[in-house]
Structure formats: structure tokens, C-alpha cells
């Protein structure tokens, strides 16, 4: 839609960028954009339109207000009418990604003959006729960003960090960072690195290190203590994965849940051990 505040129309348009109307304002504010862990997007909007003559058109059904919502990355573009002055627009999972532009407008749903608006600029005379679908109100464009968390691999939210501050033979967890940090002293760190590099070592690593770590993360997310973690980047990925597996973070058994989240690594231990001993 090649229309913006600089566009010129052969008919009056209520907009900040012209004086087609001697009074009146039209604005849209996006009050909140929510992404559910399942990927659905909800946009809360609030319109304000103060011109009585246009209000009459809206109330009589002769005009509509809403916004052109456009996402270039996903080739999405749609004219979304507003349901009243404020409300929520909903979008299915995956419809939007990246920059989403919102172009608020008021348009005519029917032909308007000899429309008489007191606040109309005198240049237009006392009455004017306009065709159906003409835009009669434009507000400033706005935009927001939609992220893409689902592709982050579960393991990518974990980071193994070498530290000399904890005793040899032990591991510790740090949930206060952007990722879940597994703190390991030098010797364990080295062993884990070795296991990571071997395809047979992966089930061992997942069972011996990640399984208890995931159990502790789940435990930390339970009850009121979870509130501090919701803003952490790793939380969305973790919660999304739990939702995908139907795991109720509050109540699900820890060991069973951790095994499901990690793809049952214990079940692969036997094969892994056999291959390791055969290749030794």
C-alpha cells in the first residue's frame, strides 16, 4: 500500500500532515505486543479519533477504522478492521517475523454523496462526495519486532563455563545469566569437552551432566521463585520446549520431565558404552 502521511489525495484526509480538517485528531497506539510460547502473536491497540463528523460515519457503518499490517519477511499483509476503539488483533503462529509495520487508517465502506462536515477546510466547499474505499484518515505508522525463539536448540541455552572457584569433582548452576551456565572446574571441564567431541560420548554427557542440570532448572522454576527468571532469554526456550512436550513445570515429575526434554539419553547409554569399549 503506497500510502503514507506524505501522500496527496484529491479528497480530504484527517491526518497530522495536512489541514484538510480544521480540527480533529486520529491516532493509534499499540499498547502491548505479546508472543505466546506457542508462537501466536497478540497486539493490543487503542485508537483515538476526535472528529465528530467522522465518528458519525464510523458509528453509522459508512466508514471503518483499522490498520494495514505488513510483514515483509513473511509476505504478510492484511487490512485489519478494529473492533471498537480498542481491542486485540490475533495472528497465528509463525505468521509474523521480524519487523511488522502498522499503518492506521479510516476508510469509506460506501459512496458518500454531498457530505457536509463543519470542520472541513473551506477549500473543499461546503459539501463533498467521495467514492467507496477512499481513505479519509491516516495516522502515523508504527512498527514492532517479532522474534524467533523456536529454532534455538535446547542445548544452545546451556553454556559450559570453566571456573576455578568451585572444588574439583563438583558442578554448579548459574541461572542469572542470558543462558543457563554450568560451572565446572578444570578437570571436569576438560572431560566434558572431550565427550562433546565424540558421538559416543553424547548420551553419557546428557545423562551424567545435563539430566541433573535440567532437573534443577525445573525445580527452580516452580512456585514463586520462578518470577525472577521469566525475563531471562533462556526461559522462553525452556518454557516453550516444556509446552511442546506437555510438561507442566509446576507439577510434572522432575526426572521423567528432564528425560523427555533431553530425548531419553539414558536409553542410549548401553549402545554408547558398547561402541566406546569396542573402539577402545
Amino acid at each position: 500500500m503506497k500510502v503514507d502521511l506524505n501522500s496527496h489525495f484529491p479528497h480530504p484526509v484527517l491526518s497530522d500532515s495536512n489541514d484538510d480538517f480544521r480540527s480533529g485528531r486520529f491516532d493509534l497506539s499499540i499498547t502491548e505486543v505479546r508472543e505466546s510460547t506457542a508462537g501466536d502473536v497478540e497486539i493490543d491497540y487503542a485508537f483515538s479519533q476526535t472528529l465528530p463528523e467522522i465518528r458519525e460515519l464510523l458509528e453509522s457503518g459508512a466508514a471503518s477504522l483499522g490498520a494495514f499490517i505488513r510483514c515483509q519477511d513473511t509476505f504478510y499483509s492484511e487490512l485489519r478492521p478494529a473492533d471498537g476503539k480498542s481491542g486485540t488483533w490475533r495472528f497465528d503462529r509463525g505468521t509474523l517475523f521480524g519487523r511488522v509495520e502498522v499503518k492506521p487508517m479510516i476508510w469509506l465502506k460506501q459512496q458518500l454523496d454531498s457530505w457536509n462536515a463543519e470542520s472541513l477546510n473551506l477549500e473543499y466547499g461546503s459539501a463533498i462526495s467521495m467514492r467507496k474505499s477512499e481513505i479519509i484518515g491516516l495516522a502515523n505508522d508504527t512498527w514492532f519486532n517479532i522474534g524467533q525463539e523456536k529454532l534455538k536448540k535446547f542445548e544452545s541455552i546451556f553454556e559450559l563455563v570453566r571456573t576455578d572457584e568451585i572444588p574439583e569433582g563438583q558442578l554448579k548452576l548459574d541461572l542469572q545469566s542470558d543462558v543457563i551456565r554450568i560451572l565446572a572446574p578444570f578437570e571436569i571441564f576438560k572431560s566434558i569437552e572431550l565427550m562433546r567431541g565424540s558421538s559416543h560420548g553424547k548420551p553419557l554427557l546428557l545423562s551424567a551432566v545435563y539430566l541433573p542440570v535440567v532437573m534443577e532448572v525445573l525445580e527452580n522454576l516452580r512456585g514463586e521463585q520462578n518470577s525472577g527468571y521469566e525475563s531471562k532469554p533462556w526461559y522462553r526456550v525452556f518454557a516453550s520446549k516444556c509446552e511442546h512436550f506437555g510438561i507442566d513445570i509446576e507439577r510434572a515429575p522432575l526426572l521423567e520431565s528432564a528425560q523427555r526434554l533431553l530425548g531419553s539419553p539414558v536409553g542410549k547409554l548401553g549402545k554408547s558404552f558398547k561402541e566406546l569399549t569396542e573402539n577402545a
Binding site: F75, E78, T95, L108
Partner: protein, 277 residues
């Protein structure tokens, strides 16, 4: 059905950086030996793929093959969303594994010209010429691989990646008319020029009401694509006449009325040009 796999960031970066070193793999041996390594086969939990459908993609470049391939790819990947379909790691994994044969056949990689090392070759300059030719072929091959095996940016996944472009063709067709996806594809993919005029213009291709109108006009008045220049003039007229029109608020008849005028503009322009010639 299998879970759809994708590359890790580091694997994608490694592949991008090593196109020339991997030329032999792209030509013949493939990447099968790497699949067990870390980051080469990460799984998407919510998207499944039917490899049998991808295995029968036609390597011909004609319009009919493009239409059936687009439908096959769209049907083969269940649970794909537009936001996920912008992800280079997903499409690159498909072109390097499941659709490697198709991509090779559709956009073949040239063989290296033979080196000339004889004494006579050195004296006649044939050695230098052969060297230049090798460099040129290498450059062409790298460009070909970067274009069709990877999917960087909007143009990368919509127009260039050998598999992603097929999915996006079908997705855009479905958005235009969910009841007649294949019928829309027939019009969108008539020629490369028509695809470029319709699909590669996001200001246009994402406006379903307007696109439906254009498809109807193409069906009812095939003369608008009788010649490449006529279709281009038609699209120019759509740009001029439809620039500020809110097609979304118009009825089918009203939209068709405007597009018919655009068709008349294009045909008139063609007639004037042929009279002048």
C-alpha cells in the same frame, strides 16, 4: 515422516566459508559422512518432512515442473510456518542433504577445465588461457552454490534457494486463494518474468485481494501475458492506477473494473508501439 532437520549456526558458517574446498562434495560425494557430527542434523520438534516426496522433484526447469515441484515441497513439509521458512539453516540443510540430488540436477556445477602443462602449451599461451578459464569456472561454480544452496536474506529464501523458493511459491499461491492453490500457481509460474513481476514485488504479492484480481484478469484476458512487454505494461498500469487504492475494501467487480482498465492501458500502449514501428 521424519522430523525436519536444520544446521547449527556454526555448521552453516563453516559451509559458507568452505564452498570452494567442498566443490567435489557438491559435485559428487555429498555431505553424508558429516551428518552424525554436532550441529549437522538438529531436529525441529514441530515440523515433519516426507523425504519420499522430495526425492521425486523434477530437475527440469519448465513451468509445469516448477508447479508440481512447488506443490510437492509444500505438501512434503508439514508444520512449516512462514516465520520458520525465513530461516536459512533449514533450507540449507535440505539443499545439502535431502534435496542435494535435485539441486545438483537443477543447477549443475561445471567440471573444472583441464590444466595444460605441456611445453607447447606454455609457448602458445594456452596454459594461461586454460588457467583463466579455470578461474572463471571456479567463480561461476561458487556463485551458483552460494545462490542456490544457501538462503541469505529475503531474496535468498524467496527466489534463489532451490527448495525454499518452491515452498514460498506454493505458500504465496495458497494465501492468494486457499481453495485453488495449484490454479494460482499455474498463473504465477507461467514464465520467469511473470513470477518476477508478481512474486518478487512484496508490496504486491502479499496483498491477497489485489493478487486474486490479477489472477482473475490473467485467466479471463490471456492477452495481457501474450507478450512479455504487454504484461510488464499491465503491471506498470496496476502500479499507477492502483497506487493509492484500497483494494481490500472493494468488491470483486470493483477490483476487476480497475484491473480491466489497466489491461486496456497495456494493450493500447502495445498497439501504439507497433503502429510507430
Amino acid at each position: 515422516m521424519h522430523k525436519l532437520k536444520y544446521f547449527s549456526e556454526s555448521v552453516l558458517a563453516e559451509l559458507r566459508a568452505n564452498v570452494s574446498r567442498n566443490l567435489e562434495r557438491y559435485r559428487a560425494s555429498g555431505f553424508g559422512d558429516r551428518t552424525d557430527q554436532n550441529g549437522w542434523a538438529m531436529e525441529l520438534s514441530a515440523v515433519e518432512v516426507e523425504p519420499e516426496k522430495l526425492a521425486v522433484l523434477s530437475q527440469s526447469g519448465g513451468s509445469a515442473a516448477e508447479i508440481s515441484n512447488s506443490m510437492l515441497v509444500f505438501e512434503a513439509i508439514e508444520g512449516m510456518t512462514p516465520s520458520l521458512a525465513t530461516e536459512e539453516r533449514v533450507w540449507s540443510r535440505l539443499t545439502h542433504f535431502e534435496c542435494l540430488d535435485y539441486t545438483r540436477g537443477r543447477w549443475p556445477i561445471k567440471d573444472d577445465p583441464r590444466e595444460k602443462n605441456g611445453l607447447f602449451d606454455g609457448l602458445t599461451g594456452a596454459k594461461e588461457k586454460a588457467h583463466e578459464k579455470r578461474k572463471k569456472v571456479l567463480h561461476q561454480n561458487i556463485t551458483q552454490i552460494e545462490k542456490h544452496y544457501f538462503a541469505r536474506g529475503r531474496t535468498g529464501y524467496r527466489d534463489d534457494n532451490s527448495v525454499a523458493r518452491l515452498w514460498w511459491n506454493a505458500y504465496i499461491a495458497k494465501r492468494i486463494d486457499p481453495q485453488d492453490q495449484e490454479g494460482v500457481l499455474i498463473e504465477l509460474l507461467r514464465t520467469a518474468d511473470i513470477r518476477s513481476n508478481l512474486v518478487e514485488r512484496p508490496m504486491l504479492s502479499n496483498r491477497a485481494d489485489l493478487m486474486r484480481g490479477i489472477i482473475r484478469t490473467m485467466r479471463n484476458h490471456p492477452d495481457i501475458y501474450g507478450a512479455e512487454i504487454t504484461f510488464r505494461d499491465f503491471m506498470k498500469a496496476v502500479n499507477i492506477r492502483g497506487g493509492g487504492v484500497l483494494f481490500e475494501a472493494l468488491s470483486t467487480q470493483e477490483t476487476d473494473g480497475i484491473l480491466l482498465k489497466c489491461r486496456d492501458d497495456a494493450l493500447r500502449k502495445g498497439e501504439k508501439a507497433s503502429q510507430a514501428a
